[in-house]
Amino acid sequence: MVKLGYFPGCSLSSTAREYDISTRIVCEDLGIELIEVPHWVCCGATTAHITSDIAANALPAKTLIWAEKNNMPITSPCSACFSRLALAHHTMTADEDMRKDVAEVVGEEYKGGAKVLHLARVFYETYGLEALKAKVKKPLKGLKVASYYGCLMTRPAEVCDFDRTENPMFMDKTVQALGAEPVKWGYKTECCGAAFSLTKKEAVIKLTGDILNDAKECGADVIVVACPLCHANLDSRQREIEKRSGRKIGLPIIYISQMIGLALGYNALDLSFKKHFVDPVRVLKEKGIL
């Protein structure tokens, strides 16, 4: 039994509710116990670190201190939360001035004993692919999947404790273990522009459009993601991108937890596919998965 502290992040109670729902279902089925961090506060996301570096470290500090005290690794399904927590851990371990500043505002010192994991890597490393394979009830045969990692799940290398930043493969291997066929493509770690979702929409449309078009050209049926911000851009902006370029894309964007859920035999209702803008049900039915 794997026991982890769970930091869902703000998006998972609003725009990415289906990610939270599917994560909880899948983890319970696999025997990964998630304990939600009590009274967690926002990690500071894309704004705290460009406004105040003390806020950027102090906001995740309480969560890190909780993890340290309870001697429990924490996992976040959101790449931005994961990155902010891991970066705060990294900064406060290396930079003594910052650690002291944060201790003063938080009222407690963080000693550097927490471990932060991204949910996608929990499935791959902590739980393990062999164990996952043994749980598969309905292999995702014939489904071509482009794994989109985005920027913050793997970068920077020393913060994420990960050395294949240019061509990560763990999600490709995870979907392969579920019976699907990973697609080779070029944009798996390019940025979708999440930090500019509301402020610089034109930039987001360009970055997201490039990612979607490359996945389509490389023959993907669906894109798998592990971040609510990536999902929001790729899924909800897709229609506008199609309209502007005059070309149909029609790529469903599926969370890694939903992907595992499908292989475990859950249906579209359990996994809340109705909340998606680009409907994944049609292609999944065509492939005989649903």
Partner: protein, 198 residues
Amino acid sequence: MKQYLEEKNFKQGFRKDVERLSKQKISNCYQCGKCSAGCPMAFKMDYPPTMTMRLIQLGLHDEVMGSNTAWYCVSCETCTTRCPREIDIAKVMDTLKIMAQAGKYEVSDTEIPIFDWIFLKSLQYTGKVYELGLIMAYNMLSLNPFKDVFPLGLQMFLKGKIALLPHFINDPVAMWEHLEMFSKIHKKQKAKIRETNG
């Protein structure tokens, strides 16, 4: 682009300020250009990251702070990951934005500072991001009240993707501590920026 190097335009203290606040050794940059090559937003920037690093080395603060470069940094960390001199370039961009938003220099962007202000206010009083409130407040203050409301916002609402009410920290003591922490952060950050020599 032509740069005229006149002594009156230099400010050595500027490089030192950026180095001290970002804890990065900017003089290490040897202008290889890997950061600009990988930057997904370089196409929008007045000066690409490599050039910005050089401008900081030279202490040309007006060029750096007056350009849109830092504001178009999307914090994807590609430059930081690839820098052969191990400079955290994304952090340098963060630092430029922190310095501008602390009121020390010109703020050469109209969108991001408004968004940051609303975001952090929302975070201060609820502890969690209230997405609907954030979007509405941002649209109002950026004088574009109906941006993304039709059809995107409406569809999101119909799909149950938008929570109507904010989520708070569900414990009064934790909430109080959170508010107190925020006021301390503001004081400390101000003091830290004021120390600069620039």
